[in-house]
Each structure stands twice: as structure tokens, then as C-alpha cells.
């Protein structure tokens, strides 16, 4: 019996589409509901961050980094500050290091909350999204207390912080952590263990570890495939070697290792681990110290180049900076994790249905601001 001839149809998903997480456009070649080819088209949010950076003094670049990964601005600022500090060879006060870790990890929780909630939204569950945003709001309140801003902070400066934390911040953070532990159980109840959710995500879009490594996938997507690579562990920066935390890995608990469910669940567990780190950092936080003590008056790194990588919520965030001895970078390059993670979608999304492509895209958790830069 010969196969029924069916014509393929090109379907433009985006740049205006509710589930492309911004202005991503996916050119889908579809045969009925089955997608045979996915071609991501990017660049709709290109703001030439790297070229801008070549015309700005080092301290003026900090706010721009936050606008790249706008859901994890603290993490981007942290990475950039550490890269320049490595060039300048600055020794930071203890209190600054602890506060930076606290903010970076709170930011990781906030970012993963968006990822988890939006992933639920992608497979059709609306309520978990609101629950996740309820907790994210608490974190944003904390950030607002400290920096005055809720999304883009310009808080972590090269050599220090913009302000010290206000009185009452530590107590409020403890309060949040106490509440948060219970809330994670709520997400697991409404989403993680839901039969329909498991049907929609388990065994879908399996990303084998070899493919993930070949494409340069990092972060929770890589760890969801069972590869144990967390830069906080393998190459500890800042003071991450002082904290006890686990690196959650995908185990294929509901299906195959590296499916959408694994990537989702790695994020849920990472939030718990981050909460643990924040708690430890708060316990050990030195009570005094000027957060601006090491702030350099004049930033003119010596001639040379540096590549510094840190673990952003989406994966390995690298800054490659070339200095020619002036007060502006000669070249700035950002290795954005979401860009590399998105590259794998054609490989793992082929042959699935349109609904699955949405789920796979959601599980990769991309931020277009960082992909287009």
C-alpha cells in the first residue's frame, strides 16, 4: 500500500506568538500536526550590546548586561563584574562576596520560577504560572529594597555593590525562604505529579547527552540530560566553594533521561538548592564591612584579554573582554547560554507534533534579549 501523498506546509510561529517567549520566529515545516523541520529565525531584539560596549567605559557597561538576560539581571551583572575584576586583580571584601551570592541565587530562584511557570503555561496549565509569579514577586520586593529596581538593577558594580543592604533585609529574606520551602511542594502538587503534565512532557524532546555536548548546551538543559556540569561546582568562582549544595541531574524518573520533564524538574530542584545556598550565605554573612571599599576610582585594565564564565540560571554565561589599556573595552563578546541552547531545537524537535514543539521550546527556557543581544 502506498503512502497517501500529503503536502508539507510552512508554518510561521512567531515573532508574535504567545509561546515563543518573546520575539522568536520558528519556521516550522509541518505535515499535518507533525513537524518535520524547525528553523529558528532570530535577531528581532538585536540591540548590538557588544558594539555598544566598545564605546562605553567599563562601569557604564554594567546596566547593559542586565538588559541581555532581563530575567536574570543580577546573574549577568555578577558575571561581568567578576570578569573585569579578574582583569584588574581586585580583592573584594567578604561582605560583598556574600551579598553577591545571595542576590545571584535569589535571582536564580526568580528566573527558574518564570521558567517553571511559563513551561506550565506552554502545556496549558495557567494556575501554576500565577503561583510562581506570586513567589517571584516576593523576590522582586527584596531586590527593590536593596537596589530600588525590580527588573534591571545596576546593583552589582565592578569592585563592589551600589548600596549596602537596608536594615531588615536579612530578616525579610529569611521569611521568604521559610515560606518558599512550602511553596515548592505546592508546585509539585499542581504540576510535577500531574498525570496530564507527565503525559505531555515525559519522553518528549529527548536530548541525549552527546548531542547536548556537541551543541554546547549548558545549564539546566544539559544537567537534565544527566551531564554533571555546574560551573559553581567544577570551577568555583566567587565563594561558591564555601557552600554545601547538590547539583540536581535528570534521572529519567518519568521517562527517558533528558526529556522535557527532566529539564523541568531539574529547575524545580535547583530552586530548592539555591534556597539552601541563600540560607547558608545569610547565616555566614559578616555583619560589617564597607561594600564600596574596593571600588576602583579609575578602571583601566592592563593590556590583555580575559574570558570569565559563570553559571547563570540558563547556563554558562561567558564574557570575553579584550583590553588595549584604555578605559573602554577594545572588544567585548558575550557567550550567551540561551543562544546555544536554542540551537539544539531542530535536532530534538523534529518529528514531534506542534504542541510538543511548544513544550520543547518552553523546556529550553530561552530569553530573547540574551540570544539577540
Amino acid at each position: 500500500m502506498s503512502r497517501l501523498h500529503a503536502e508539507e506546509m510552512i508554518l510561521n510561529m512567531g515573532p508574535q506568538h504567545p509561546s515563543t517567549h518573546g520575539v522568536l520566529r520558528l519556521k516550522l515545516t509541518t505535515d499535518g500536526e507533525i513537524v518535520s523541520k524547525i528553523e529558528p529565525v532570530i535577531g528581532y531584539l538585536h540591540r548590538s550590546f557588544e558594539k555598544h560596549a566598545e564605546n562605553l567605559q567599563y562601569q557604564m557597561v554594567t546596566p547593559f548586561t542586565g538588559r541581555c538576560d532581563y530575567l536574570a539581571a543580577m546573574g549577568s551583572e555578577h558575571g561581568y563584574a567578576m570578569a573585569v575584576e579578574k582583569m584588574l586583580d581586585i580583592e573584594l571584601p567578604e561582605r560583598v562576596e556574600y551579598l553577591r551570592v545571595i542576590f545571584a541565587e535569589l535571582q536564580r530562584i526568580a528566573s527558574h520560577l518564570v521558567a517553571v511557570g511559563a513551561f506550565g503555561l506552554d502545556v496549558g496549565a495557567i494556575t501554576p504560572f500565577i503561583y510562581c509569579f506570586r513567589e517571584r514577586e516576593l523576590i522582586l520586593d527584596l531586590f527593590e529594597m536593596a537596589s530600588g529596581a525590580r527588573l534591571l538593577y545596576n546593583y552589582i558594580w565592578i569592585g563592589g555593590l551600589a548600596h549596602d543592604i537596608p536594615p531588615g533585609f536579612v530578616e525579610k529574606t529569611y521569611e521568604f525562604l521559610d515560606a518558599f520551602d512550602k511553596r515548592v511542594a505546592e508546585y509539585n502538587q499542581i504540576l510535577t505529579g500531574n498525570k496530564i503534565f507527565i503525559e505531555r512532557t515525559a519522553d518528549i524532546g529527548v536530548l541525549p547527552p552527546e548531542v547536548a555536548i556537541n551543541y554546547g548546551v549548558t545549564g539546566p538543559c544539559l544537567r537534565g540530560s544527566g551531564v554533571d556540569l555546574d560551573i559553581r561546582k567544577v570551577q568555583p568562582y566567587s565563594i561558591y566553594d564555601r557552600f554545601e549544595f547538590e547539583v540536581p541531574l535528570g534521572e529519567g524518573a518519568q521517562g527517558t533521561v533528558g526529556d522535557c520533564w527532566d529539564r523541568y524538574y531539574v529547575r524545580v530542584r535547583e530552586m530548592e538548592e539555591s534556597a539552601k545556598i541563600v540560607r547558608q550565605a545569610l547565616d555566614q554573612l559578616p555583619s560589617d564591612g564597607d561594600v564600596q571599599a574596593a571600588l576602583p576610582k579609575r578602571i583601566r585594565p592592563p593590556k590583555g584579554e580575559v574570558y570569565f564564565r559563570s553559571e547563570n540560571p540558563r547556563g554558562e554565561l561567558g564574557y570575553y573582554i579584550v583590553s588595549d589599556g584604555k578605559n573602554v573595552p577594545a572588544r567585548m563578546r558575550m557567550r550567551s547560554p540561551a543562544f546555544c541552547n536554542l540551537g539544539v531545537i531542530n535536532e530534538i524537535g523534529q518529528g514531534w507534533m506542534i504542541s510538543d514543539v511548544i513544550a520543547i521550546l518552553g523546556s529550553l527556557d530561552i530569553v530573547l534579549g540574551e540570544i539577540d543581544r
Binding site: M9, L11, H17, P18, S19, E33, G120, L121, D122, V123, G124, A125, I126, T127, I130, Y131, R134, I190, L191, N194, I196, F197, E199, R200, M353, I354, S355, D356, I358
Partner: protein, 415 residues
């Protein structure tokens, strides 16, 4: 009801000159208008309730600004939709694009003609009522396919095709489930089906727990059939977890993508009309329609007392532990029990059948549908088909055969 109304009109001296045919036509028009008003108001109220229910489940307030507690929000929204520019895409099939939404609305409004609201209040007492309801309500899919095809949009086309596949798959198990009740009653007349559910008896004929004679308690098979119908009905009206035709996160808005203004409002209206319809059918077929759950006033008193004792225990032992104590359900049940003992008239009213009971049951089922919507993720289209053909349909057939055997066992029918 139309004949009654016509006779009533003719009973006035001034109007009696118009003759029976004109009076009948006038009554027909009045009844149709009443049904339409019911459907429109119902959508207006349900949209508000849906928003409030979703807000309640999502720890929000919901609409609060327009009117007290946002009560006028949906009115404002409806007015806004009526004012909107009427847009027909250039490449659309204009005729189908215009007819599509009206087809859906007409189908869902027309179905209400056969729905009995009480023992006297129904538009048309047909002896094939159930058949009429099932057949007319499935015209809705025709409108959806028309709308999706006419939009000339790939997303709309996907939505329409999914919808057609979905409704056709679920019509079959739903039909077979309804036949299993028809097998028990021996009639397609909805009033006869409700009247057959009067009185009280044992749970599943033998288990000595007094329950009303509703078909959900008739046999384990009809008990299962109730849930089969609930699943099938939810799928037929395209609500979560079966909302794949308009799945917001995948197909933008499915078959409604290109519609705006009044036409979009018609889709919305018929969506809620269909949800109400499914709740009505479920109530009529399995939950006794307008029958009261209490046989007489003393059973109302006793049942309410038992219920409030359970509510007290549940509140104290379950809700207190979770730290989220809500006194409203508890207070209401105790209030109802006390008033049932203090005012026998209240208990008598509770035990008598009427429009209150059918509306209360329908409201409960609609709340259940909303609960589904704000809790579950969405199924994929092939999973939906799998459930329909491999789970629900065999179950429906099993129920039909099981009911027949059950009736033979209990002696309801003899060969």
C-alpha cells in the same frame, strides 16, 4: 409551554380576536426570545463567575473596579465588544466568515428549546427530546469548521480540523452513554427521564444506604457512565483539559484567531451556552433534573444535620491542620440545618422539586468544569484521540451492556 402561553394570551378579551395561529406564533416568538435572553444573561454571569473562580484559585482578586466587586465588568466588556470595528480579513471567505459564528450560536440556543427547567417550564415537550438535544448541539462543529476554514489562516485551520476530529470522536461515547440511560427508562422524552428519577431507594439497588433514585445511583455502570459523560461533555465543549481547538499557547486562538468584536462575542456566548448545556444534560440524565435530593421534609432535616456534622468534623480535623480555615461553607451548612428544623416550611420547600434544584445542580457542575479548567494542563491532540477511542468508548459500551445485565439481575426487566 407555547400552547399554554397561546391559550393564556387568547384568554384576554381584547386579544382573543387574533385567532389561535397568530397567538401561537406570538408565543413562539416570546419563548424564543426568553431562551435567548437566558443564554445571553447566563454567559454574562458565567464570565464573571469564571473570572472570580479563577481569581479565587490563583490567589487573586479578579475584577474589582467596575461596579461593586467588579459586578459590572462583563457588562462593560460586552458593550466594548459591540462597539468594536467589524473586521473581515481581505483574503477570508466573506460569506462563511459571517455565517460561521451565527451557526454556532443558533445551534447552541436552539438546543435549549428541549431543556426542561421544571416539571412545567420547558419550551417544547418533545418525545424525542434527548435525540433532539444531541443532534442539534453537534451542529456547533459545523460552525467551527466554517469559521476556521473561512478565516484563511493556518492557525485557524488547525483549530478547526482539531475541533472536527475531537467532536466527532467524543460524540460516539457520549451517545452510547446516553443510550444506556434510555435503555433504563425506555423513553427519549427528557421529562419522562426526570420523572423516572423521583423518590428514594437503596444505593445500587442492594447496598442499604438511602439515596435519591437518581440514575447516578442506579447501578455501578450508570455511576461510571456519569463520569464518562462528564469527560465526553467536557471534550465536546472544548474546555480544558480538552481545549485543543483554541489552545491558546499553541494555536494563538485556534479557529477564533481572526475574529473580533461582535463575532468574537458570539463565540464566547455560545461557548458558555454549550458549557451550561452539558451541565443541564448531565443533571437531567444522571442527577435527577429538577427532582429534589430529599424525599420528604423530615429527610431534608436529617440529611442537612448529618451534612453539617460532617462539615464540622472536616473543618476541625482537616482544614485546621492545613491552617487555612474557611468558615463560610461550615456556617452555611449549619444555618441550613438549623433553619430546616426551626421552619418546617423551609424543609418542605427543600424537599419539593423545582427550578431551584436543577439550577443548583447545574451551577455545581459548571463550577466543576471551571475547576478543571484552572487546574489541568492541556492534552495533546493524539492523546485526546487515544482517550476517546481506547478508553472512553470501550467503557461506554461496557456500561451499556452492564446496565442491561444489571436490570435483568435486579428484576427491572424480564425476558
Amino acid at each position: 409551554m407555547i400552547q399554554t402561553l397561546a391559550n393564556w394570551i387568547l384568554s384576554f378579551d381584547i386579544l382573543s380576536g387574533m385567532g389561535y395561529p397568530i397567538a401561537w406564533g406570538l408565543s413562539l416568538f416570546i419563548v424564543a426570545a426568553l431562551i435567548f435572553v437566558f443564554v445571553a444573561l447566563n454567559a454574562l454571569v458565567l464570565v464573571y463567575i469564571e473570572r472570580k473562580v479563577s481569581a479565587f484559585m490563583q490567589v487573586r482578586l479578579g475584577p474589582m473596579r467596575v461596579g461593586k466587586f467588579g459586578l459590572l465588568q462583563t457588562v462593560a466588556d460586552a458593550l466594548k465588544l459591540l462597539q468594536k470595528e467589524d473586521i473581515i480579513p481581505e483574503k477570508a471567505d466573506k460569506a462563511l466568515f459571517t455565517i460561521g459564528p451565527w451557526t454556532i450560536l443558533v445551534a447552541s440556543v436552539a438546543t435549549f428549546a428541549a431543556i426542561p427547567f421544571s416539571d412545567t417550564l420547558l419550551a417544547a415537550d418533545m418525545n424525542i427530546g434527548l435525540f433532539y438535544v444531541v443532534s442539534i448541539s453537534s451542529i456547533v462543529v459545523l460552525g467551527i469548521v466554517m469559521a476556521g476554514w473561512a478565516s484563511n489562516n493556518k492557525w485557524s485551520l488547525y483549530g478547526a480540523m482539531r475541533s472536527a476530529a475531537q467532536i466527532i470522536s467524543y460524540e460516539i461515547p457520549v451517545g452510547i452513554t446516553l443510550i444506556s440511560v434510555v435503555a433504563v427508562v425506555g423513553s427519549l422524552n427528557l421529562q419522562t427521564i426526570i420523572q423516572a428519577q423521583g423518590g428514594a431507594g437503596n444505593l445500587f439497588h442492594w447496598i442499604p444506604i438511602p439515596v435519591p433514585n437518581w440514575f447516578i445511583f442506579h447501578s455501578p455502570f450508570l455511576f461510571m457512565a456519569t463520569f464518562v459523560y462528564l469527560i465526553g461533555g467536557t471534550a465536546e465543549i472544548n474546555r480544558t483539559p480538552f481545549d485543543i481547538p483554541e489552545s491558546e499557547s499553541e494555536l494563538v486562538a485556534g479557529f477564533m484567531t481572526e475574529f473580533s468584536g461582535l463575532r468574537w462575542a458570539l463565540f464566547f456566548l455560545s461557548e458558555y451556552a454549550n458549557a451550561t448545556l452539558v451541565a443541564f444534560i448531565l443533571t437531567i440524565i444522571f442527577l435527577g433534573g429538577w427532582q429534589s435530593p430529599f424525599v420528604n421534609y423530615s429527610s431534608a432535616q436529617i440529611a442537612l444535620s448529618i451534612f453539617s456534622v460532617i462539615a464540622v468534623i472536616w473543618t476541625v480535623f482537616v482544614r485546621m491542620k492545613s491552617g487555612r480555615l474557611s468558615i463560610y461553607p461550615l456556617g452555611l451548612s449549619i444555618l441550613a440545618a438549623i433553619s430546616a428544623w426551626l421552619f418546617p416550611g423551609f424543609a418542605v420547600w427543600l424537599a419539593s422539586p423545582g427550578i431551584f434544584w436543577i439550577l443548583a445542580k447545574v451551577a455545581g457542575i459548571i463550577f466543576l468544569l471551571m475547576w478543571f479548567r484552572w487546574t489541568f494542563p492541556r492534552l495533546r491532540v493524539d492523546q485526546l484521540m487515544y482517550i476517546s477511542w481506547k478508553v472512553v468508548l470501550p467503557l461506554a459500551i461496557l456500561n451499556l451492556m452492564g446496565v442491561a445485565i444489571w436490570m435483568w439481575l435486579t428484576g427491572e426487566i424480564q425476558f
